[in-house]
């Protein structure tokens, strides 16, 4: 490996010469081309601008609405910043902002129950998706190499049909005279149709089914990279296969597992369509609560407060976790 910034001074880093102390990267102290610097800056700016425009600005708007008061008007909240009066208008509006909506969320048990139940459902379904997804991803990664594109294609294939239609299809399968019950009765496993639709079981089935590809794909990509000689090395050193799985395969698939779990857990917490269509009225989830506040009650400020709290609930543990991961990778404990 030769660092271009060092080779100009005649210093090259060689792989075979053991460095006395480990350095993650060569120091970048060589003067950079100012033109290249601007190009690099502009390049980095694009994703940040994107995030600013499509994440931060809407977030600020939602946060602002959550501090307002509901009103029968268009838009349905007060106060509205009167931009024609410039900064004075902003100041006047800001003086009337209050945390009432957030206090309201703590007073009505419904919200907390919805949050807790959402987190519970999301957590359990993420775990179940992992349990279902791991063998699938493992099987894919261990399959003959020529099959891989086909197998990946098969995992992605459901995306070609509308998500809504696929969830609707589950109604047809799970309802009391649906496909599943009819089949089970015909083979004689059950006499009475099972009640699955409009229960939380149907929600779990729906979430696991819908989010399975998001679990399988990152898992597959990390299992596929796993060097099979590591498995052989473990067995050679006296490790039976099941132990090798826990000592070698799982730790090395961990990045894929974490990515898959986040990709399932985060959208599942706020999931609305699946509990609405499959869960019936008995399933309490925050996405549904949000929808009701927004569209049925037309209480935008409370709905915004619900959304902000949800975001904070998700962001804090994720940030803490990522910081821990970064430190673990750098520090090499």
């Amino acid at each position: 490996m030769t660092d271009p910034s060092l080779s100009s001074t005649g210093i090259t880093r060689s792989e075979t010469v053991p460095a006395p102390r480990y350095q993650p990267e060569a120091p970048e102290n060589a003067p950079t081309n100012p033109k290249g610097g601007w190009g690099r800056f502009a390049f980095i700016c694009v994703p940040y601008l994107w995030l600013l425009l499509f994440f931060l600005v809407p977030f600020v708007i939602v946060a602002k609405i959550s501090l307002s008061e509901a009103a029968v008007s268009i838009p349905p909240y007060l106060p509205v910043i009167d931009w024609s009066r410039g900064l004075a208008g902003l100041w006047e509006a800001a003086e009337r902002w209050s945390l009432d909506n957030y206090i309201w969320l703590t007073e009505d048990a419904l919200y907390w129950q919805a949050y807790v139940s959402s987190l519970q459902i999301a957590f359990l379904s993420t775990l179940l998706t992992l349990l279902v997804g791991f063998p699938i991803a493992y099987g894919m990664a261990r399959a003959p190499r020529s099959w891989h594109p086909t197998l990946v294609m098969m995992v992605i294939l459901p995306f070609w049909t509308s998500f809504l239609i696929r969830v609707y299809a589950w109604i047809g399968i799970l309802k009391s005279d649906g496909l599943l019950n009819q089949t089970l009765i015909t083979i004689g496993i059950i006499d009475e149709p099972l009640v699955i639709l409009n229960t939380s079981i149907a929600v779990y089935i729906g979430i696991i089914y819908s989010y399975l590809p998001f679990m399988v794909l990152p898992l597959y990509s990390s299992l596929e990279k796993l060097d099979t000689t590591l498995i052989e090395a473990a067995e050679d050193l006296g490790c039976p296969p099941w132990k090798t799985f826990w000592r070698v395969t799982v730790p090395l698939a961990l990045p894929g597992m974490i990515a898959g779990c986040f990709l399932v857990f985060i959208p599942a917490v706020g999931e609305f369509v699946i509990p609405d269509l499959l869960g019936g009225s008995s399933t309490l989830m925050i996405g549904k609560t949000l929808w009701v506040e927004f569209f049925s009650n037309r209480d935008w400020p409370v709905a915004s407060a619900v959304a902000i709290v949800l975001l904070v609930l998700l962001i804090i543990p994720i940030t803490l976790f990522q910081r821990h991961e970064t430190r673990r990778n750098e520090g090499d404990v």
Partner: protein, 383 residues
């Protein structure tokens, strides 16, 4: 298989010559097929305790497959493998008392050096104190004491190689398998490590089996070499025997450089053989024990360093001499390789040591010279 040495050869260690000695590892009529491809073809091999044995051959010759069958990663299609007289059939890799050092090292990237070395010991359920002392011992054996807490990606290639070696030795296996262990190192480090391997093997008094495609490596480290081609062992002998008395054209040409002249046996009296080379149009004298009889086609093979070149015809009896023209000279520093055109279609090579510090050599391009060799310098190859 090994021929009787021509002269008195002193050997400190040669259990294979002792008929009462039991083999430590025995491959008995092993065949391994992958679909239609025959990787190992009815092969038998005996390896003795404390032997450093090398499986040498080009890629696809079956050497790695043979080793993997001993480790338990592949099952032979036919035949049996014995270790200390015990049939290994059906014994899974994690229960075999052999350890392997992988070509890619296969260090666990999520564990530091210490954990990597301790892995096999933990599997044996050794007490923590014993593991600690054994890991320490291994680290000092491979001179990596200060690196216990490093992760594999923080080490250089040579250090990783030593960790892999330490890990495979930590369990004190009955046999250490080395799969192209030095292939990823540069030349200088490789040569150093070869000597370290020999010392280690003598120090630990263990049986080593190495797979390599590098003939110099095999010659340096091994007590005996099995030269393999197409799933068979062509010759199993000491490095000296393999080099000086190759039993086939393949072995002769695979190990080092050699001049091969096709010919026909015209006279034979015990070991004194006369051959006629049609390409040279000349009779050549050879002293070599050969099964070939008068009239048989055979090849005469002579190593280039056993050939001499001179302006005058050598007068010694029992010396073959043919005339030729210096066609090319490859100056290597320590030696020069002279390509001598002896016939329209035949060029032979002679290696001359550069014993003087002269930039101008007396013999140069297009000179007419005599190429000569003693009658006992050559080898007769019948296959």
């Amino acid at each position: 298989m090994a021929k009787k040495p021509l002269g008195p050869v002193r050997r400190a260690f040669s259990p294979w010559d002792d008929p009462s000695e039991q083999p430590f590892i025995e491959f008995r009529n092993i065949t391994k097929r992958f679909g239609n491809f025959v990787a190992v073809d009815n092969l038998s091999l005996k390896i003795y305790k404390r032997e450093f044995h090398a499986l040498l051959g080009g890629s696809g010759c079956g050497k790695t497959t043979l080793m993997r069958m001993l480790a338990g990663f592949e099952a032979p299609t036919e035949g049996q493998i014995f270790l200390e007289g015990q049939d290994l059939a059906g014994v899974p890799p994690y229960k075999r008392p052999v350890n392997m050092m992988f070509q890619s090292y296969a260090l666990f990237p999520h564990m530091n050096v210490e954990k990597n070395i301790a892995f096999g010991l933990e599997m044996d359920g050794l007490p923590a104190r014993e593991i600690k002392s054994r890991v320490h011992e291994m680290l000092s054996l491979v001179k990596l004491e200060g690196f216990a807490k490093r992760k594999p990606h923080q080490l250089s290639g040579g250090q990783r190689q030593r960790v892999a070696l330490a890990r495979s030795l930590a369990k004190r296996p009955k046999v250490l398998l080395l799969d192209e262990p030095l292939a990823a190192l540069d030349k200088k480090l490789r040569e150093e490590t070869q000597l370290e391997l020999i010392n280690l093997q003598e120090q630990l008094r263990m049986t080593f089996l190495i797979v390599t495609h590098d003939q110099e490596e095999a010659m340096t480290v091994a007590d005996r070499i099995s030269v393999m081609d197409k799933g068979r062992i062509l010759q199993n002998a000491t490095p000296g025997e393999i080099y000086e008395q190759p039993n086939s054209r393949f072995v002769a040409e695979f190990i080092g450089d050699i001049n091969v002249l096709d010919g026909q046996v015209t006279k034979k009296e015990n070991e004194d053989v006369q051959m006629f080379s049609s390409v040279l149009g000349d009779h050549l004298d050879v002293r070599y024990p050969t099964p070939a009889s008068v009239g048989d086609h055979a090849a005469l093979a002579i190593r280039p360093e056993k050939m001499r070149i001179s302006f005058d015809k050598p007068a010694h009896p029992g010396t073959n001499a043919i005339q030729g023209e210096v066609w090319d000279i490859a100056y290597m520093g320590d030696v020069s390789i002279y390509h001598i055109k002896v016939a329209e279609t035949e060029t032979l090579r002679a290696i001359v040591a550069n014993t003087t510090r002269l930039v101008e050599r007396p013999i140069t391009w297009e000179d007419q010279v005599w190429l000569s060799w003693d009658s006992d310098a050559g080898v007769i190859l019948t296959r």
